[in-house]
Symmetry: C2
Subunit: 516 residues, 2 copies
């Protein structure tokens, strides 16, 4: 058994059953091993950002790491932006990156690069395996690292000679230490803070946003009268009818400040203290109201559910009925011209039970939440790292993870262009993804940002850097070229009709919502 | 004047007149300054790899750095693979990367990342400017660094508060120290080596491959009988009728060894000693024949033209007539089914004077050179870093640099999918680029690589990772969706007819050469 095969077998034994791959010469032994080993699902991406984003989406929906297979330094670099997003989302990924044979690196040939240096800013764990005999063991350590709560990026660099050399066998993955138990003093301090009622806030992130965490938060709110607020970035929210609803902290500083206004006691659960996405002249970075006292019940690396359980127990809230549970109910089917509310209603009216919404609708979708609060139970995934091009790749991974659920990707036209190669993988794998492109023919978010940073009233040249209308991009035609059918819609009736069609069929489908 | 404006003015004053940009919030002041400052051509790319590749192509054709404008760590990461290629090609680039305001970084918000860490593996020079007053001076240092021979990657990180704060004024760019003068001992040693006639070889890279360098090499060959060989990676070769022709070192180890066979004395000019692109089991990394003595006349960072001049003078070859000058002549127009030779003939028969060929035809184009040796004078640009997705972005930059010349991009279908966003920029800017896609519906190079690394006879799963035919990609339709017209061709008559049309018109055009 060569090193590559020992790694594939170690990954499988360690529960890593999917590999999102864009291989090259140095990864050919890994690819060759796939036919000798049963069980690894290898999904090809035509660009490495598709692979890393897909691994992120897969982790969010399974809580289990997938692997990626990347070609030397540049392949890793192409994956890096979505690794950044995955790292910020707390997603565990095992990157396998090919490298030249160790004896070959000294010749500084075209693909030679500092792969460890490239990996470090995007990884929690980095190692170059020195020999074929160490590859399996190092692979097991990478899996272990990827599983550290809430999930970590582990990058294993595999020199070609360690892939083709004779291995020692398959390695067992050591257990990952569990996240720290809830701190008793923090539980008592949090309980004390929340007894202040409506001037207190539970500020939730990470797995606190799963249905069980939100239910506990709802019980605590019922008992104490505290408010519940979601963080600005949320990797996965379980929401819909029967669940405790929650709003994310808004991107716009003033709106976020309004959401937090009046809070004197903030309890952080799986989230950092609220801060502005960007700095702006004359606006604060820290969004917590002045004088507000903050208690960290559970850090980002902790166990939010266990922490909420301990807190609910401390407060005697475990038997409470959760406050504010969403009742079933959908909006009316909207008609007429596109409005942001109308788009939200169209989605809320049509999304099926179990839908996985991957949201990268930067400008358009910010207000969609209320219209789907009573829709059948579903998941909602947001961008945690702010690097656009996350949406369609994460949709690929979510669809691979959950083949029996409909994935709905809400994508801005600017964002869509970063990683449009994902559509080919959707077509190839027959993934059940409905992609909505909101075509406003601009980087629309940047108009408000120009004003916010104090560079308002763009002249023609600045304006030119924000517009995508010259030429206009025909997303339906582009999707067709990659094997994905679709349709363009120009009003809300057309949209709901297309959504009905897309939800009823299986396989990838694109709807271009032409708003400008 | 704010820091961003002081930087734009400093760039212009330092001769940096083009910015390939994909800006976000933290770059809005730079964008805003464009309307207050005359002269900066700002070219928008929909993905950062387009911007960095375009800056590479621009430098190769002008020997002057362009700037890029990138959005924080992930924007830089998306640019990195083509920065890797540019770095290996010796292209000078000034990257301007936005960063959070310095006081904001501590809050670790979504886009916070170790930008210097991301930049370092891909840059020769990295600096975060600390205040608005230092931005201009640091920009000038970045230009100076980018100009170091043969060209360097300089990355200037611009925190938002340094962009919006009050600047001190515009900075003058200090002179860049010239490359070292030819070493006299090396000249004498090289002359001695070459006096051995046909057992000696001039091995050329970098600017030795410009027409004047090749002419000097031809004079030396005429005088001494030495052989002339190009390196495997060549950033830009000036070739065609009236010029001294040259073959690149082949990618396949055995073929490269044949090219070098019998060489007892090798003189390196602007090139490193020949090494295999990858390591393969049982094959050498070093390609220089055993017992061959190597003299470095001019290192990669030196001045190849001055070195060849000094060497020709030492040999008394300056007045020689260069050996082997290519006579004008084109191949017949080919007919019938596609063959690799036929494709080379079609190109050689139709390419206009002054064409700039950007070659990323990984499998298909390797044998094209002989068929265009006698075509009208033209430039030929190859990938130096081995990261695919370089071709169409470099074509963008070459076309911006040379608006009156036809750019011909030869792209494999696998490579095309990495940075296809380039086509939109070509349409937007009306760039005169003819893109040929060689659609063999696979990563065809990897079949030979599987055998070379000892993993031959791929099974169905390995095979699946190399095939792009499920679904097939319709490049003409994709181009159309991005505003670029084109046509599909299925035999050599159709191809030459389309090439004639494309060469006669102006603006971007795509020809999909459907080979499988």
């Amino acid at each position: 058994m060569n090193g590559a095969e020992s790694l594939v077998r170690t990954l499988l034994k360690g529960g890593v059953e999917v590999c999102f791959a864009n291989p090259g010469t140095s990864e050919m032994h890994f690819v060759g091993a796939l036919d000798r080993v049963e069980g690894m699902r290898c999904v090809l991406g035509l660009f490495e950002g598709v692979c890393s984003g897909a691994a992120d989406g897969y982790y969010r929906m399974t809580d289990r790491p997938a692997s990626t297979l990347l070609h030397l330094g540049p392949g890793l670099a192409n994956a890096a932006a979505n690794l950044h997003n995955a790292k910020k989302a707390g997603s565990g990924i095992v990157n396998v990156v090919g490298e030249h044979a160790l004896y070959h690196i000294q010749y500084d040939t075209p693909l030679t690069a500092d792969i460890e240096g490239i990996a470090r800013p995007f990884s929690h764990w980095v190692k170059t395996s020195p020999t074929a005999k160490t590859v399996a063991g190092d692979g097991a350590l990478a899996i272990q690292a990827a599983r550290v709560a809430p999930g970590q990026i582990a990058t294993l660099i595999l020199p070609a000679d360690t892939a083709w050399g004779e291995a020692q066998g398959v390695a067992d993955t050591p257990d990952t230490p569990p996240p720290p138990r809830p701190d008793e003093d923090a539980v008592i301090a949090a309980a004390k803070a929340l007894r202040n009622g409506s001037s207190a806030m539970l500020y939730l992130g990470g797995r606190a946003l799963r249905a069980s965490g939100l239910e506990l938060a709802g019980k605590i709110a019922a008992k104490t009268g505290c408010r519940i607020q979601g963080a600005g970035g949320t990797a996965r929210i379980e929401r819909g009818a029967g669940r405790v609803p929650m709003l994310r902290l808004h991107f716009v500083v003033e709106t976020a400040q309004q959401q937090l206004e009046g809070t004197r006691h903030m309890v952080l659960v799986g989230a950092k203290a609220p801060a502005a996405f960007f700095a702006y002249p004359g606006k604060p970075s820290v969004l917590t109201p002045a004088g507000c006292e903050t208690v960290t019940l559970c850090p980002v690396e902790g166990d939010p559910i266990a922490s909420l359980e301990a807190l609910a127990a401390e407060l005697g809230a475990l038997t409470e009925k959760p406050a504010g549970v969403a009742q079933p109910g959908r909006p009316e089917r909207p008609t007429g011209k596109f409005t942001l509310d109308g788009l939200g209603c169209a989605l809320g009216a049509t999304m099926p039970e179990g839908a996985i919404v991957v949201d990268e609708s930067i400008t358009t979708g910010r207000g969609f939440f209320p219209y789907s609060a009573g829709a059948p139970p579903h998941d909602w995934l947001n961008n945690m790292g702010g690097s656009i091009g996350y949406g369609t790749p994460v949709a690929v991974g979510a669809a691979v993870a959950c083949p029996n659920r409909k994935v709905i990707a809400l994508i801005g036209d600017g964002s869509a262009m970063y990683t449009f190669q994902s559509l080919w993988t959707m077509a190839r794998e027959g993934l059940d993804v409905c992609v909505l492109i909101f075509s406003n023919h601009s980087y629309k978010i940047l108009y408000s940002q120009l004003a916010d940073v104090g560079a308002a009233n763009p002249g023609p040249r600045a304006n030119d850097m924000l517009m995508l209308d010259r030429p206009g991009i025909d997303f339906v035609t582009m999707a067709k070229s990659l094997g994905v059918p679709g349709a363009e819609v120009r009003d809300l009736e057309q949209l709901t009709k297309q959504l009905d069609y897309a939800m009823a069929q299986r396989g990838p489908y694109l709807i271009d919502v032409v708003m400008a």
